[in-house]
Symmetry: C2
Subunit: 338 residues, 2 copies
C-alpha cells in the first residue's frame, strides 16, 4: 500500500482541512496516511472524522514552520537534526523509507528549503523547481519553475526541461511530451539573455524540444511542458490565476446585479460556468511537485480546503505508482553521460 | 487642431482598417489626419470612405517595413535619411513638427527601432519602454516594459517608473499614481536580482512608490503603474490575454454546444458577457505608447481593425492635449538633479 505523509499543520485553517482531506484520500484512493503534527490538535481532528477503519496514523511533531520562518532562521530549522516541526518530521519519514511521498500546504519557502536540506537533490540537478499544472485550450501544461529559483542559469533550465518532460510522460501520461522555452517571441533568437543561452542546451537535452513559446502558445496548448525561470513563472502563474478570477468574479457580479432576464439566464448557464470553474480550479490538482528533490514532495496552497488536500494526496500517489522519481534520476543520469 | 500621423501600411489587412479607422477618428474626435503609405493603395481606400469634408491628407511613402525587417537590416532602414517606408516618413513628420503623434499597427520591433533612431530618446532615459494598459478589478494599470527591453538594468526600471507615473497622471487622470514593482512576492526582499537592485532606486525616484506587487495585486488593482523588465512584462501580458481568451472562448463553446436551456441562458446573459469582452478588449485602448522616445509614438496590434485604429488615434490625441511628453521630460530632468 502506498504511504503518503500529510502535514497536518499546513493549511491556513489547519489541522481540519489537512486531516479531513487526508482521510477522504485514504478512503477514496486506498492509500495509507501518516499525519504529522501536534498530536493534541491532530488527534481530535482525526477522531471527528469517523475514520477508525482506515489505515491512518499520527506521528507527533510539536512544532510547525510558519510564514515567519525565512532566511537564516529557516535554514537552521530545516537543517537541524533535532527539528520537531511537522515538515522536518514528515520529510524525514520519506527519507527513512517509511513513507513514499510528503504533502504539505504550509509555507512554500519553508517546504522547499526543508525538502532540499533533508532529502537533498537528485544527482546532476543543481536546483529543484516547483512544477504546477496550467490549464490550456488542449488540456494542461506542466510549467516549471514557478518560484523556487527567481534567478536561474541556462543549465538550470535544461535540467528543468528533463525533469518536467519525465514528469509529464510518467505522471500525466503524455507520450514524448513537447517541451517549450517560455519567451517573448516564438522565433529562435527572441528572448532575454537567459533564454538565448539556454537554447543550445535545450536542443541537446534528451527531450522533445519544441522551441520558444509565447504566452499565447502556452495557454493555447502548443506544448506539454514549459520551462522558465522562477521569477517569470511565478509572476505569470499568479497573474493568470488573477485574470481568471477577475473574469469569473465579474461574470458572477454582472449576473447578480443584472435585471431579471440576466438573472434567469445566469441560472440557466450555471452548469456551463461550473465547468469553467473546474477547469481553472488549482484545487483539482491539489498541489505542485518539487522536481529535482531526491524524494517526492508536493506543495499545496495555504488556502487549500479538504478537497484540495485530497487531490494533492491523489497526485502524490499517482507519482509514486509510476515510479517517477526513479525515471527522473535515470533521465538526468543519461544526460550527464553526453 | 491636433495632427496625428497614421501609418496606412500598418495592419495585417492594410490599408483598409488603417484608413477607415483614421477617417472615423477624424470625424469623431476632430483631429487632423495625415495618412502615410503607398498613395496608389491609400488613395482609393480613402476615396471609398466619403471623407472629402474631413481634414485628411496623404503623404506618399512607397515602401513599408514588414516582419522580415529585423536585426541589422532593420537598423539600416530605420537610420537611413532616404528611407521611404511609411514608418520612417511618418515619424519624420513628427520630428519636423509637422505632426503631433504617430500611430502604427505595423511590426512592433520595426516601429520601436525606427522611432528610436529618428526621434531619439528623452534626455536622461536610457531605454524607452512599451506601456500598454492592463484591465484590473479597479479599472486599469499601466504596465511597462512589455517587450522593448528583454534584459533591463535597475536604472531602466527606475526610469520606466517615472515615465509610467507621469503618463498615468496626465493621460489617465490618476492623481499621485501608485507605482509598484512586479515581483514574485509582496514583501521587500522578495524578487530576482534585478528587482532587489531596483528597489532602492524606486524609493528615491520622484514617484509614489508602493513596493512589490505580485500578479494577484496587479490584476486586483493595487497599483496604477506596474514596472517590470520587457521579458517578464511580455510573457505576462500575452499569457493574461490568452487566459482571458481561453475562458471567454470556452464559455461561448459551452453555451453553443449546450442543451436548449443552456442556449437560452446564453442568450439572456449575452449583454453581461459583452461587458466582460469590452473590459478585456485591447482594441478599446487601440495602441500602447512607447514611453521615453522624444516624441509621441503609439504601437497597435497588427490584427487591429478600424475600431482599434480609431481608438489608437483617440489615445494619441489625449496624450497630445495634456502635453504628456513635456511632463515626462520635466520629471526625468528633475530626477537627474538629485
Amino acid at each position: 500500500m502506498i504511504r503518503i505523509v500529510v502535514d497536518a499543520m499546513g493549511t491556513d485553517e489547519c489541522p481540519l482541512p489537512d486531516v479531513s482531506g487526508a482521510v477522504a484520500a485514504a478512503r477514496e484512493y486506498g492509500v495509507e496516511i501518516i499525519l504529522v503534527g501536534d498530536e493534541a490538535r491532530v488527534r481530535p481532528a482525526l477522531e471527528a472524522q469517523n475514520a477508525k477503519d482506515l489505515p491512518i496514523r499520527i506521528v507527533h511533531a510539536p512544532d510547525m514552520l510558519t510564514m515567519e520562518d525565512k532566511g537564516e532562521k529557516l535554514v537552521l530549522k530545516a537543517r537541524s537534526k533535532d527539528a520537531k516541526n511537522s515538515m522536518a518530521v514528515g520529510i524525514d519519514l520519506v527519507k527513512k523509507g517509511e513513507a513514499d511521498a510528503f504533502v504539505t500546504a504550509g509555507n512554500t519557502g519553508a517546504g522547499m528549503v526543508t525538502a532540499l536540506f533533508r532529502l537533498g537533490r537528485i544527482r546532476g540537478v543543481d536546483r529543484p523547481a516547483l512544477a504546477p499544472i496550467f490549464p490550456t485550450a488542449k488540456g494542461f501544461c506542466v510549467v516549471l519553475d514557478i518560484g523556487a529559483n527567481p534567478d536561474c542559469k541556462p543549465e538550470n533550465l535544461a535540467q528543468f526541461a528533463i525533469l518536467g518532460s519525465v514528469y509529464a510522460e510518467k505522471v500525466r501520461g503524455v507520450k514524448n511530451p513537447k517541451v517549450g522555452l517560455l519567451s517573448n517571441g516564438e522565433e529562435e533568437g527572441k528572448g532575454n539573455e537567459l533564454v538565448k543561452a539556454a537554447t543550445p542546451l535545450m536542443k541537446t537535452a534528451p527531450i522533445n524540444y519544441y522551441g520558444n513559446v509565447e504566452g499565447k502558445e502556452l495557454i493555447g496548448g502548443a506544448v506539454d511542458v514549459a520551462v522558465t525561470d522562477g521569477f517569470t513563472g511565478n509572476v505569470t502563474l499568479k497573474t493568470s490565476e488573477a485574470v481568471a478570477k477577475l473574469i469569473t468574479d465579474k461574470i458572477r457580479e454582472l449576473i447578480k446585479n443584472g435585471n431579471l432576464i440576466t438573472k434567469i439566464g445566469g441560472l440557466l448557464v450555471k452548469p456551463a460556468l461550473s465547468e469553467i470553474k473546474t477547469m481553472l480550479n488549482p484545487d483539482e490538482q491539489g498541489a505542485a511537485p518539487m522536481l529535482g528533490i531526491n524524494g517526492l514532495v508536493y506543495i499545496a496552497h495555504g488556502r487549500s480546503d479538504a478537497y484540495a488536500i485530497k487531490n494533492a494526496v491523489r497526485v502524490a500517489k499517482e507519482a509514486v505508482e509510476v515510479k517517477v522519481l526513479d525515471a527522473m534520476k535515470s533521465a538526468i543520469e543519461e544526460s550527464l553521460k553526453k
